[in-house]
């Protein structure tokens, strides 16, 4: 497999060093940038496979950098933030960030996020059959099987689950899920989402109270894990 390239845009030398050592040890090529300006130039010269973007850069707001990047750059961008401010995170995700990590984070978590973001960008969109452990989703026949037994889902439940599963490991915001499944006028009607997530968990999780597939991201959204 070819080595993937990661661009780290962070003004803190210690963080850059830590990320570079961690990523190089995991067989990645790493480029570093200390400012938004440097970062944008680096992306334009050699587009990396993935960007780790600190949201608090000295020269430009990370949100603006992200918007700017998204005008032409389509590979994953993972946001690094020092504060667990859900509003900020949701904003970054709505602006096209693939995922987020709040400092301090564990390197295990970092690598898991990077791997899933990269896997996603290479996933075959037209695959009809997706298997997630005990779950099998067949998009061609719109059926779900758990431990080889067919599960009855309502139309809305199916749409929601299919959306989550197609974006495996990716955090999807409440707004995004509501808009995609129910339509733009339901953007703020999170009570519907709560109802259907609870129903889905009852049907697909072994223990709906300790879900392993549909994970709650507090104040942000949901993440589907295989």
């Amino acid at each position: 497999m070819n080595k993937s390239t990661v661009l780290v845009i962070d003004d803190e030398a210690q963080i850059r060093k830590l990320l570079t050592i961690t990523l190089e040890a995991q067989e990645f090529y790493v480029h570093e940038a200390t400012t938004a300006k440097e970062g944008l130039a680096a992306v334009a010269n050699h587009p990396p496979d993935l960007i780790l973007l600190d949201i608090g850069l000295p020269d430009q707001n990370g949100h603006d950098v992200l918007k700017h990047l998204r005008e032409w750059y389509t590979n994953p961008v993972i946001i690094l933030s020092v504060q667990s401010n859900e509003e900020d995170i949701v904003r970054a995700l709505d602006n096209g960030a693939s995922d987020y990590l709040v400092k301090p984070f564990r390197t295990g978590e970092l690598m898991a996020r990077i791997r899933s973001a990269l896997r996603k960008s290479t996933v075959d969109e037209n695959h009809a059959l997706l298997t997630f452990g005990d779950l099998v989703l067949d998009f061609s026949s719109r059926t779900i099987k758990k431990n080889n037994e067919k599960i009855k889902l309502t139309a809305t439940e199916y749409t929601l689950l299919a959306l989550l599963a197609k974006n495996e490991s990716k955090v999807l915001t409440h707004h995004y899920l509501l808009t995609q499944v129910w339509g733009p006028t339901y953007r703020e009607e999170s009570q519907y989402l709560r109802v259907f997530i609870a129903q889905l968990r009852k049907k697909i999780e072994a223990d709906p109270n300790r879900p392993v597939h549909i994970i709650t991201e507090s104040g942000v959204g949901y993440r589907f894990i295989a």
């Binding site: 504060q83 667990s84 859900e86 509003e87 301090p104 309502t154 139309a155 809305t156 409440h174 999170s190 009570q191 519907y192 709560r194 109802v195 259907f196 997530i197 609870a198 129903q199 109270n209 300790r210 709650t216 507090s218 104040g219």
Partner: protein, 366 residues
């Protein structure tokens, strides 16, 4: 006694200055009007004493300028309306002239003295506040220096050893040092998290983002954070699936529940049971967290939510901020939290949150 006095001061201090002028005007005019009705019975000299009493009462809570206004106005009106010859400013007898002068002087002395007393009281209060602040910051600094410096010392010491003696250390010792660094940084992070929580609350720039919350999801998500730590405690959740959704700030409530459960785990011995109950009581959300530990001493119950308060028998490794953050976040939701000891054993924290709710989840959904 002292308490009620300061409470009164605080109450009166809040009267805005413009209102004070109205009060002083109104009071003097009222007494003059009443006096018109009775001056024939009691005589015009008694009126001076009515006015004197009125101004004495006013001086309890008015500033000096409104008092001077009352003094001048009452002297003029008394003279004009009551001292013969009536309805002139001239005064018939030398006795009355002296009386009016004395009246005016007494009222002014009264005003000045009360103002001075009030000023002195204010200074005392300021001094008290300052010494309270100093005590607060001393506690903060002591607690912080200990809680932050201990892990930092560990990290610096361990890395010194690894850097200087790297090759001479056995693999076991290296591993142990690294593990110590790990534990110290987790501890450091938890303290910083708590300090950020407190400063968020104190900054005032803190806002809550309410959204529909499935309380069962909230509880189980919080419990998910503890997964590896539960080996020594048994945790039970009692929350009906027909519980309505409530409008809450999910992330804040998660931190509230985390701190309360963490508190129960930290302060009870192994094998203790923890019960988390959620219910809808009078259209409000009720969450109770109880344990079967030793409970709190009566003396402590009132103080546990105070900043930096730590139970006497508690283990090292806390700043006493966790429960004060809990109370702050609950109050930000307009709710209350109370603590009581249970009849047999253990303690129970009860949260009551008045907020919007919906029974949408109990309808049939296709």
């Amino acid at each position: 006694m002292i308490h009620s006095k300061t409470a009164m001061n605080r109450l009166f201090k809040e009267v805005p200055i413009r209102q004070q002028y109205f009060i002083s005007l109104g009071a003097v005019l009222c007494v003059i009007l009443l006096s018109l009705l009775i001056h024939e019975v009691v005589g015009y000299r008694a009126i001076a004493f009515f006015l004197l009493v009125t101004i004495s009462l006013l001086s309890l809570f008015l500033d000096i300028l409104p008092l001077v206004l009352a003094a001048v106005l009452s002297a003029l009106l008394w003279n004009f309306i009551f001292i013969p010859p009536r309805f002139t400013f001239s005064i018939g007898t030398a006795e009355d002239q002296v009386l009016l002068l004395m009246y005016f002087i007494i009222v002014l002395i009264h005003a000045v003295l009360t103002a001075k007393i009030r000023q002195a009281q204010q200074e005392v209060r300021k001094r008290e506040e300052r010494s309270r602040d100093i005590k607060f910051y001393n506690t903060l600094l002591n607690s912080l220096s200990h809680e932050l410096r201990t892990p930092i010392t560990t990290i610096m010491g361990a890395t010194d050893n690894l850097l200087a003696l790297g090759n001479n250390l056995s693999e076991t010792n290296k591993y142990e040092l690294l593990n110590e660094i790990n534990i110290a940084s987790i501890r450091l992070n938890r303290q910083v998290e708590n300090l950020l929580g407190v400063s968020r609350l104190e900054s005032g720039a803190f806002k809550i983002r309410k959204d529909w919350v499935d309380v069962r999801e909230l509880i189980y998500t919080t419990l998910g954070q503890f997964e590896p730590m539960f080996s020594n405690h048994s945790v039970t959740v009692s929350a009906s699936e027909s519980l309505p959704f409530f409008k809450l700030d999910f992330a804040l409530m998660e931190q509230v529940l985390f701190n309360l459960i963490n508190n129960a785990i930290q302060h009870t011995s192994e094998g203790t049971s923890i019960l988390i109950t959620a219910d809808c009581v009078d259209e409000k959300l009720m969450i109770a967290i109880s344990d079967t530990g030793k409970g709190f001493s009566e003396k402590e119950i009132d103080r546990v939510f105070d900043k930096f308060y730590r139970a006497h028998a508690s283990r090292p490794g806390g700043t006493g901020l966790g429960l004060s953050i809990v109370r702050g976040f609950i109050e930000a939701h307009g709710g209350t939290i109370t603590l009581r000891n249970l009849p047999l054993s253990g303690a129970e924290f009860t949260i009551i949150l008045p907020t919007e709710l919906t029974y949408l989840n109990n309808l049939k959904h296709e």
